[in-house]
């Protein structure tokens, strides 16, 4: 009987060449053209991980940075830490259940995910939504947009080292969240929109809170932004940082405020109107600089426009039912529908295929943050490591949406 021979540690086939020896983990196999280029280190270059638990990555994102001294040479974002397979889950849920599956995607502004889904289902069903329901949708969604932008404005300042603004903007955001909680019953993932309408009518607590808040919202916003707009340190760190020009923005499929900050007036509420937006009077602010500061200031302008829309909704709110009458089990005719809404971060669209059963045959969810995160690879090389935060925070990705 022979004993199996153990390989000797001195065997040259088993020792790792010093050049490739990683300290914490082996360097992944270079396979694609891009990976080969990224993982080939030149003299003086170093790979480090930022994340997955890094406060400035706004969620669970790992970025492999290739740095030379303090300068970022290249980067490779590693996604998927929050991947839940929502698209597959939606294919195995019925049309009503889908709403609660898409809710936690972009968890900062979850009404917009719901809106994209119900809009496409309504197209599949050729469904007419009551006008009061449309107005309530616009009202609650614009409130959610303000809450989302408030969070952005605060966190952007926090990433640049200013602590006070987040306390101010969180006070506003929290008031809106309490308001929406009174309306929908939940404080973060609202699960409020239904196919053909909304879950419940406006109630007294919501209206009284909203009335109080609207009286002071404008002044509060100006006061809060006065902290930043006139702050020299903040402005000088954000200006000229991460510039995207018009052509690059279109080529990279950027949408939302990030695109409008590059001078393209593309807002789906005007470019491809849905719901009752054609009846409402608001502007689409744009800026031409395309840098971090422009993206910041553009969102401040958007909050002002949202306040205008909310005001009009309250004045024009019609009476009537808040939901169409639908059977519990929906079986749309076989067909395809695509719908897109302007979420706070850009275009949030849903593409759904029905095969005549009660479950979507295919449900595709497109999230704007996913494509904005891709911009990082374009904007960060050449900048200093601390400035990557100023760029990334200004793009406003939400990892819940990126990872689906």
């Amino acid at each position: 009987m022979t004993t199996p021979t153990r390989p000797s540690l001195d065997d040259p086939a088993l020792t790792i060449p010093v050049d490739h020896a990683g300290i914490f983990e082996p360097i992944p196999l270079a396979r694609t053209e891009r990976q080969q280029e990224f993982y080939a280190l030149k003299d003086g270059e170093l790979l480090i991980n930022m994340g997955p638990q890094h406060p400035s990555t706004h969620g669970v994102l790992r970025v492999v940075l290739k740095i030379n001294g303090e300068k970022v040479v290249d980067l490779d974002p590693v996604l998927g830490y929050l991947h839940r397979g929502v698209e597959k889950l939606c294919e195995n849920a019925d049309y009503h259940q889908v709403i609660s599956h898409v809710d936690p995607l972009e968890y900062i502004a979850s009404l917009f995910n719901e809106w994209g889904a119900v809009l496409s289902f309504e197209k599949l069903l050729d469904l007419e939504v009551p006008r009061r329901a449309e107005y309530i949708r616009v009202l609650s969604a614009e409130l959610n947009r303000v809450a989302s932008h408030m969070l952005y404005l605060g966190f952007f300042a926090l990433d640049l080292g200013g602590i006070t603004p987040i306390l101010w903007s969180f006070a506003e955001r929290d008031e809106i969240m309490e308001m929406l909680a009174a309306l929908t019953g939940q404080k973060l993932l609202f699960n409020y929109f239904r196919i053909g309408g909304v879950n419940g009518d406006l109630n007294h607590e919501f209206m009284s809170r909203l009335g109080d808040w609207m009286g002071r919202a404008g002044a509060q916003l100006e006061a809060g932004m006065g902290l930043l707009n006139e702050n020299e340190i903040f402005v000088r760190r954000a200006r000229g940082m991460g510039v995207i020009d018009r052509e690059t923005a279109l080529r990279m499929c950027v949408t939302g405020p990030n695109l409008r900050a590059s001078g393209v007036p593309f807002d789906l509420r005007r470019a491809h109107p849905y719901s009752v937006y054609p009846e409402l009077d608001f502007d689409v602010p744009t800026r031409s600089e395309g840098d971090s500061l422009a993206r910041f200031l553009l969102r401040v302008d958007e909050v002002r426009q949202s306040l205008r829309i909310i005001d009009q909704c309250l004045h024009q709110m019609p009476d009537g039912p808040v939901s169409a009458r639908l059977p519990r089990l929906l079986r749309p005719r076989p067909g395809r529908a695509f719908s897109s809404v302007e979420a706070p971060r850009g275009q949030c669209s849903t593409y759904v295929i029905s095969d005549g059963t009660d479950q979507p045959f295919r449900m595709r969810i497109h999230d704007p943050s996913f494509l904005h995160l891709q911009l990082m690879g374009l904007l960060m090389p050449g900048n200093l490591l601390p400035d990557t935060m100023a760029i990334m925070a200004s793009l406003d990705p939400v990892m819940g949406g990126v990872d689906k």
Partner: protein, 183 residues
């Protein structure tokens, strides 16, 4: 529905179109062969009276027998969404040209389609998994990938024969080699 767009598309893309231009609500749909993608998209993007400059979405679809890749485009000349369906991509050889030469931003969307369906976009320089780990072997949005549990079944379940529950079917070595970009 934009009737003028239908006539315009038929005139500009005539021979590339597979079947009629379909229109419903605010969507116009054309079907093309996957091989024609670069030329058709170039026309849609560059022609002065089309100007579909903005790629809104890229979605893979598994019909059960073949794959499709569905692009949605937006242009300021029309109020419609344009849906371009690259139809009839064979399941055993799912290859089609990449659009990264036109929209660099499609790179990650193509990576996602590769991750979920195993679609190989030729010309994408970074075609690897994006959400799932590198050593994952199957493609979860394919219709032969079954969810392990049955909790999400709705009362009307059982009507779709493809969606039986079972363990995820792992792709074997040959499938892997065929669908990985290096091979």
């Amino acid at each position: 529905m934009d009737r003028a767009l239908k006539a315009l598309l038929e005139r500009k893309l005539g021979p590339s179109l597979e079947g009629p231009v379909r229109q419903r609500q605010d969507q116009t749909e054309i079907r093309i062969r996957p091989g024609d993608l670069p030329q058709v998209m170039r026309t849609l993007h560059d022609e002065h009276d089309l100007r579909f400059e903005y790629l809104a979405d890229l979605a893979g679809v598994d019909t059960g027998t073949t794959f499709q890749v569905v692009y949605h485009l937006w242009s300021e000349v029309t109020p419609d969404w344009l849906r371009v369906i690259a139809d009839g991509i064979p399941r055993d050889e799912p290859r089609l040209p990449s659009l990264t030469f036109l929209w660099k931003g499609a790179e990650w969307m193509e990576r996602e389609a590769y991750d979920m369906f195993g679609l190989v976009f030729e010309g994408n320089r970074d075609l690897r998994r994006i959400y799932l780990p590198d050593d994952f072997v199957s493609f979860p949005l394919r219709k032969d990938f079954h969810l392990a549990d049955d909790v999400a079944r709705s009362p009307g379940g059982g009507v779709r024969p493809m969606e039986r529950t079972g363990a995820p079917k792992d792709a074997d070595e040959t499938t892997l080699r065929r669908t990985s970009p290096g091979a």
